[in-house]
């Protein structure tokens, strides 16, 4: 696109400024603010406001709420701020994970979950997780209870995952995964499930 190489000309700088103030206005007013309210708040012509809102929605910096009238910041806005630093895992949490590794003969991984992002905070050094499959599966964990669930990692591998909710604020903060051969994970013995639950319960006090 040659247009992108052209310098800003004419009324374009003002359009950029207006677009940014529309973005800021949505951030300030909170989810659900309507086009009319934004236009009134910024004293911007309605037609201009609607056009800018549509551009920002097309670019996904803004989203429309389900009533189609209201606006909210879109997920793409999170790209504008620097990513949050990966939280440090307390030594006590490492100790809990290390203890579980000694008791079970499978790969044990601890993953932290923040703002829908997953990072392996303590991957098992003896059983390094293959490619990104584990992370992808962990990213799908939803905040719907603390039950242990099982998923397949390719044809021969499977994992048991237990979500860990922080005792401090109840947030889904981490996930503890035990990975091994598909056969062993298909019918895990009660001892393994018990060990996983005990370790996860200890971790609730150590994650935020």
């Amino acid at each position: 696109m040659s247009a992108e190489a052209l310098p800003l000309s004419g009324r374009q700088p003002r359009a950029v400024r207006n677009a940014l103030s529309v973005l800021q206005q949505v951030a300030r007013a909170g989810p659900g603010v309507t086009a009319k309210e934004i236009s009134a708040g910024l004293r911007l012509a309605p037609a201009t406001t609607y056009r800018l809102l549509n551009v920002l929605v097309e670019e996904e910096y803004l989203v429309r709420m389900p009533d189609l009238r209201g606006f909210a910041l879109g997920r793409r806005v999170s790209n504008l701020a620097p990513p949050r630093p990966v939280p440090e895992v307390p030594a006590a949490a490492h100790a809990v994970v290390a203890r579980l590794r000694e008791r079970v003969r499978f790969g044990v991984h601890l993953a932290g979950l923040t703002d829908g992002l997953v990072h392996l905070t303590d991957p098992d050094p003896d059983h390094p997780p293959a490619d990104g499959g584990l992370l992808r599966e962990l990213a799908r964990i939803r905040d719907d209870g603390a039950a242990v669930r099982r998923f397949a990692l390719g044809p021969h591998q499977a994992c048991l995952v237990r979500p860990v909710h922080s005792a401090a604020n109840g947030r889904l903060a981490a996930a503890l995964a035990v990975c091994g051969t598909a056969g062993r994970m298909e019918a895990p013995d009660d001892g393994l499930i018990h060990q996983l639950n005990v370790s996860a319960d200890e971790l609730t006090l150590l994650v935020v």
Partner: protein
């Protein structure tokens, strides 16, 4: 200076109402391919100029220009919605947000007829041109009807397979087919232009002040050639950046098709093109046949997503709203509708209808469905903008121009043919209305649910709200 929204923020769902489809996965090219394939520009370049020329003679380009303006107006109305919501039900769901459930279901029925019959017509067309191609090569493998029927069956089966496997697989194929057939057609028309020489044909380019009536009459077949340009909207939920991509695909499909149609008409009306209709080279028959195959695939894609949306709303049996666990396509809707799309043309051919006649009637019938749906969505656009508090003068002007023009084209279309096709259309729409009335007594909740679309869910908002 600061404002705070007075109403509490509306509740966000954790899951999309159209979940199960392969959401947010398609880039711009497959979406453009969907619209372009549904228009089937090669087929239209081969068939439309003759029809337009029969009405307008030397002023045929002006009819195409007029039809282009109307198509751009409809595209603007579709874009009003597609910039704001992504709906697999496309025009059906759009109309619901402007005019409410009754008008939406009317639009939905018109679209079911439109896409369904267009798919049947395209399958028949594919068979017809494949048979012509074989006949030109002196490969007579059997009676023509049998060859057409065999090709309809084969292409229908292929369409079913590609529909089930999803757009990502079929888009590559349709893009290649369309590109190849357009290049074939362009080569042919450019040869016609070169034979004519560099000087422009001023007979065609003079404004037709004396022949406004014929020019308007010619706009009808010319507009019919654009039909299908809106079908990218059906992929809204599956597009990576739907609010940008769908509108662009719809608009560019109209612009590119218009350029191709103008070239085709201009080249065929040139004095050097001869007085009888231009005889297409044999290879172009193959191109047209492939173009029709892509068209059947594209109209099938839009059709099953429309049925899927109605299934999710429970306006049709809710099983139609299910999706395949691995391919993420509406497989129950495909299984229900594909046999109908193949068996109806086969039965009519078996009953003795000549394939040419069948093809012409199917195309004729689908035009009624599309014109009705376009008129409703153009009427819905300003009402929708008023409802969400974003109405400006432009969209009102577009609706004021487009709705009466579309109705005029619809009436003109009804006046040209016999009574058979219009009465068939009215009968099908009446059946749809009866279904709607029955459903509104039996299950008012599903009527209220009409207009399902890929709503913003909690995960799309920053910061993600606590649930």
């Amino acid at each position: 200076m600061s404002v705070r929204s007075t109403a509490p923020p509306p509740l966000l769902r954790g899951h999309s109402p159209v979940g199960g489809l392969d959401r947010r996965s398609l880039g711009p090219l497959p979406v453009l391919a969907q619209s372009v394939s549904a228009v089937a520009p090669t087929a239209a370049m081969a068939t439309t100029p003759g029809l337009v020329r029969a009405d307008t003679g030397v002023f045929a380009v002006w009819s195409v220009a007029l039809a282009t303006v109307l198509a751009l107006l409809v595209a603007a109305c579709v874009r009003t919605f597609s910039r704001r919501m992504a709906a697999p039900g496309a025009l059906y769901s759009f109309t619901a947000k402007g005019l409410g459930p009754a008008a939406a279901f009317c639009c939905g029925c018109a679209l079911l007829i439109g896409y369904g019959v267009l798919a049947m017509g395209a399958l028949t067309g594919s068979g017809l041109y494949a048979q012509q191609f074989l006949a030109r090569l002196d490969l007579s493998l059997g009676p023509p009807q049998l060859i057409v029927a065999a090709v309809v069956l084969a292409t229908g089966t292929l369409v079913a397979y590609f529909l089930l496997r999803g757009v990502r697989l079929s888009a590559g194929l349709t893009l290649c087919l369309e590109a190849a057939s357009i290049v074939l057609a362009l080569t042919f028309f450019v040869v016609l232009l070169v034979r004519h020489g560099a000087r422009p044909d001023m007979r065609q380019l003079t404004p037709p002040t004396s022949a406004l009536g014929p020019v308007m009459a010619g706009a009808l077949p010319a507009f019919a050639a654009f039909i299908g340009f809106e079908s990218a909207a059906a992929l809204g939920a599956e597009t990576r950046r739907p609010f940008l991509t769908v509108g662009r695909a719809v608009r560019w499909t109209v612009v590119c098709s218009a350029a191709l149609f103008l070239l085709a008409v201009y080249a065929q009306v040139l004095p050097t093109a001869g007085h009888t209709s231009v005889r297409l080279p044999a290879l172009l028959d193959l191109g047209v046949s492939l173009s029709f195959f892509a068209c059947a695939l594209a109209s099938g894609t839009a059709l099953v997503r429309l049925l899927f949306s109605m299934g999710r709303e429970r306006m049709t049996p809710h099983r139609l709203g299910r999706t395949h666990p691995t391919h993420h396509t509406p497989h129950i809707a495909i299984a229900l509708v594909l046999p109908v799309l193949v068996l109806v043309p086969l039965a009519l051919i078996a009953a003795g209808t000549a394939p040419q006649v069948l093809f012409a009637r199917l195309v004729n019938l689908c035009v009624y469905g599309f014109l009705t749906a376009y008129a409703l969505v153009c009427l819905a656009a300003p009402v929708f903008l008023y409802r969400i508090g974003e109405l400006t003068h432009g969209p009102v002007a577009v609706a004021v121009l487009s709705v009466p023009s579309l109705l005029a084209v619809l009436l003109a279309h009804a006046a040209t043919g016999g009574a058979l096709i219009p009465s068939l259309f009215v009968a099908l729409m009446a059946a749809g209305t009866a279904w709607f009335l029955w459903m509104s007594r039996r299950d008012p909740a599903s009527v209220g649910a009409i207009g399902v679309y890929d709503e913003t869910s909690a995960a799309d908002v920053f910061p993600e709200p606590p649930r």
